[in-house]
């Protein structure tokens, strides 16, 4: 029996990084959300492959602004990553700055995306493509907004001095969600903006 009882090693208590329940819960949430976007894109390709309409209605998408916007979102992810790095090295002020930058870039993405929407000559109800385009990008926009609220809460909690190099699981977990939102954008972008060039 003795060999069963583990040795007297010290164990972390509470919400400790990737051993915390929250990290695991977030991974599972991301899997199910990832599948949600998978089914959305399945819907897009299923309908696109059978359509006889102009696809997209305005012809091949212009890529300049969406390209820039994609880079902005990726940069935002980079700042979240840097924020976590800084806090691991006890550079609390740098981590605050970095998280603030991430929020600003995230807001920029939303503003530019809203302009993209306003430039369309059709809406959700005009045609099938419009239904798909606005539903898919709308779903993503919703996730960006939720992600931004999370980043802003993290910024607030950082400013309140809740975290240091020993305890910052919330940053790791919230950051993971933001990275997920960015990766999903790459898939949405590839499907809606790049794939029409293939046929």
């Amino acid at each position: 029996m003795a060999e069963l009882i583990p040795s007297n090693q010290s164990l972390p208590v509470g919400s400790a990084g990737k051993r915390s329940g929250g990290w695991w819960g977030m991974l599972a949430l991301i899997v199910t959300e990832g599948f949600l976007f998978g089914y959305l894109l399945f819907t897009y390709f299923y309908l696109a492959s059978q359509t006889e309409q102009d696809w997209p209605p305005e012809g091949l998408p212009i890529l300049l602004i969406p390209d820039i916007n994609t880079l902005i979102l990726l940069a935002s992810s980079g700042f979240v990553w840097a924020c976590e790095r800084c806090i691991q090295r006890r550079l609390i002020h740098w981590s605050l700055t970095s998280m603030a930058m991430a929020v600003i870039f995230g807001v920029c993405f939303i503003v530019i995306q809203l302009q993209e929407w306003s430039k369309k000559t059709y809406d959700m109800t005009s045609n099938l493509y419009g239904s798909l385009y606005f539903t898919i990008t709308g779903f993503h926009m919703l996730h960006v907004i939720i992600g931004l609220v999370i980043l802003m809460m993290l910024l607030l909690w950082l400013a309140l001095g809740y975290f240091d190099d020993r305890r910052y699981a919330a940053i790791t977990i919230g950051g993971l969600y933001w990275h997920f939102v960015d990766v999903v954008w790459l898939l949405v972008f590839t499907s809606l903006y790049l794939s029409p060039y293939l046929y």
Partner: protein, 664 residues
């Protein structure tokens, strides 16, 4: 809470967990009880996060839905007992069969299994609660509200009426203008949230909250079954939530996903629905099959034959289960390749099921069966499973499916599967775990009566449906002409279904009598092998006074089985009583690697659940401002819930930041 007392050396961030004894009545045990018990009265009732309370709530609520769905079925059987009856109008009949399907499939069959798993998992795994106790409460509340949501329109005569799989264009605005389908669509999205968070909770609990030493090859089969079902839910629920959401958009905002005139495709609905629907079918039977795999050996007085084979077959079933959805669509004009592929996978999926069947048969064969009530239910289940499985393989053959599609043969098949593989193990499981739940045994004589009446009634009621189908009777017709030759089989079916209902009634009577007057149960009345039977009946709020160390698959049979030199340690283990705590272990080998802080009771799950349900009510009633207000309330509840707390050591428990905390 109690930490942050001496923050200088920071034992609140890192400490060696104390190993010791805490027999009933000791100071340590009393402290644990104080820490884990919910407040008395309505406060505790609304705020409790105890997995045992939540599990029982799931069981009771799901059972009430079973009874409601059952009454709906009986009314339909009255209508169909003889040709050209006029008890129901066609529209009433449509709403009844739709609500019957919705109730049984979504509000009974999975939630009842969640009830078992919620109650039993932490006890089987040697933990003090689930990984996310508050999420667990949320999952229950949303399930309850979604159930109520789906039912509120029923008394108004506006219930969902397009069948449980709700095919477009019939479910579209053009043919179905009332609120019926909107209720269904929104209710299903709401219910999907409950199922998803519940599934995530199970997955994380399995990977993180097992007792030290309980490596992945030592967990009970019920854990495998619910884990597999939970993975299926996490992958599949988004498909149906999306399908219903797109349908709702089509109906309410005028999008074109399923709108044929504007390039939408009705078949898209069928794909999305069955991509979810078929894995779901396995999700509602695999945990029930696992109940049998765990409980049957107790009554055969030997371990399950082929533990690894059964665990692997469970996972194989769900993997294949994601590749069979088109067998629901054979008659829609799919290309030959799709027909062949999905016909083949649907045939192949019977192999892992057969592995399980042979494992149960071998367990009975090699054991010394004790023929009491739970055993009867489990053995009866094996027979019904074989019949239901066999008619399933028949319809996997494409040419035969063309013939049988949309007939009563399918109705017979799905009832053999769902009642045979879900209801029989569930009732057997209640007989088996009743002493653990309530500390009393169920009456054995009434138990045997309930089994035989149910078993005879079920086969009398549902076997003739195969014949009705072969005679060409379509499903979902509200009546039929006398000269069709279906009168006799329908009468037999109706009689059988009422006998079956009497069997359920005997079971319920038994439950109520046994709750009051059943013989008091000991810790382990069946002499069972698994960890939940090491706790008192009913278990205390903290489950295990000390977190046990587990050495084998059968901690309570180790001396008898004599497998291996090491023995589990049940009396001596981690004390963990500085607040609500339990041990976190590594995913596969179950080596302790963290002391997890568990949350106190909380009202947040109830209110978040309520606000979410009200969002959907607002959407249904087109109350825009109300919906936005409720969305805001949800966001605030979530932020409050997620606010890093010192007692859970989600943030620094150091006193110098007290001013900051006061601000928060």
């Amino acid at each position: 809470m109690t930490d942050a007392v001496d923050s200088s050396s920071n034992p609140s961030l890192c400490r060696v967990p104390e190993v010791g004894y805490a027999p009933i009545g000791s100071a340590a045990e009393r402290r644990l009880a104080e820490l884990w018990e919910s407040a008395p009265g309505w406060r505790g009732w609304l705020s409790t996060v105890d997995h045992k309370t939540i599990g029982l709530r799931y069981l009771v609520t799901a059972f009430i839905f079973l009874l409601m769905g059952g009454v709906e079925a009986l009314i339909m059987r009255l209508q169909l007992a003889r040709p050209e009856q006029t008890l129901l109008t066609p529209e009433q009949y449509s709403q009844l069969f739709t609500m019957h399907g919705v109730t049984m499939i979504f509000l009974y069959s999975l939630p009842v299994l969640s009830g078992f798993s919620n109650y039993l998992w932490p006890l089987m795994l040697g933990s003090r609660d689930m990984a996310f106790p508050r999420l667990n409460a949320l999952s229950y509340w949303i399930f309850l509200f979604a159930g109520i949501f789906l039912y509120v329109s029923f008394p108004l005569g506006e219930a969902p009426n397009a069948g449980w799989f709700n095919y477009v264009p019939f479910a579209g605005l053009e043919y179905n203008t009332g609120p019926n389908i909107d209720v269904y669509a929104l209710g299903m999205v709401l219910l999907g949230i409950s199922t998803t968070v519940g599934a995530i909770n199970f997955i994380v609990t399995l990977f993180r909250l097992r007792a030290p030493g309980m490596s992945i090859d030592k967990v009970p089969i019920l854990v495998w079954g619910t884990l597999t079902a939970s993975f299926a839910n996490v992958f599949a629920i988004p498909a149906v939530s999306l399908a219903f959401f797109l349908l709702w958009l089509d109906r309410q905002t005028g999008t074109h996903f399923f709108d044929v005139v504007n390039g939408g495709k009705p078949l898209l609905w069928q794909h999305l629905f069955w991509m979810f629907g078929h894995p779901w079918v396995y999700a509602v039977v695999l945990p029930a099959m696992s109940i049998v795999s765990d409980a049957l050996p107790t009554f055969c007085r030997r371990p399950l034959v082929g533990y690894s084979a059964v665990a692997l077959s469970t996972m194989t079933t769900i993997l294949l289960g994601f590749g069979v959805w088109m067998h629901h669509m054979f008659a829609t004009g799919l290309p030959m390749f799709a027909l062949s592929f999905f016909g083949a996978t649907s045939t192949v999926i019977s192999i892992p099921s057969a592995v399980a069947v042979f494992a149960w048969l071998a367990t009975i064969w090699l054991g010394r069966p004790v023929f009491n009530t739970p055993f009867l239910f489990f053995a009866g289940f094996v027979l019904l499973f074989v019949i239901g499985g066999f008619s399933g393989v028949m319809t996997a053959a494409v040419p035969l499916d063309f013939q049988l599609n949309e007939t009563y043969f399918i109705v017979a098949h799905l009832h053999y599967v769902l009642i045979g593989i879900n209801v029989f193990p569930v009732i057997g499981g209640i007989y088996y775990w009743f002493p653990k739940f309530f500390g009393r045994m169920m009456n054995e004589a009434l138990g045997k009566w309930s089994f035989w009446v149910m078993f005879i009634g079920f086969n009398l009621g549902f076997f003739p449906m195969h014949l009705a189908g072969l005679l060409g009777m379509p499903r979902r017709i509200y009546t039929y002409a006398p000269h069709m030759g279906w009168a006799t089989v329908n009468m037999v079916t109706s009689v059988g279904s009422f006998i079956f209902a009497v069997g359920i009634l005997i079971f319920l009577v038994n439950v109520f009598i046994s709750l009051k007057r059943g013989a008091l149960a000991t810790e382990n009345p069946w002499d069972a092998p698994t960890l939940e039977w090491a706790t008192p009946s009913p278990p205390p709020a903290y489950n295990f006074a000390v977190i046990p160390f587990v050495a084998s698959r059968h901690p309570l049979w180790e001396d008898r089985l004599n497998d291996g030199p090491s023995r589990s340690s049940l009396d001596q283990g981690y004390l963990l009583m500085e607040g609500r705590e339990t041990i976190g272990t590594t995913p596969f080998k179950a080596t302790p690697n963290i002391i997890l802080k568990m949350p106190e009771d909380s009202y947040a799950p109830f209110f978040l659940g309520l606000f979410s349900a009200l969002i959907f009510a607002g959407l249904l009633l087109h109350w825009r401002d109300f919906t936005l207000l409720m969305a805001l309330a949800c966001s605030l509840s979530l932020i409050g819930w997620m606010w890093p707390s010192q007692s859970l050591v989600q943030r620094l428990p150091v006193s110098k930041h007290d001013t900051g905390a006061a601000h928060g």
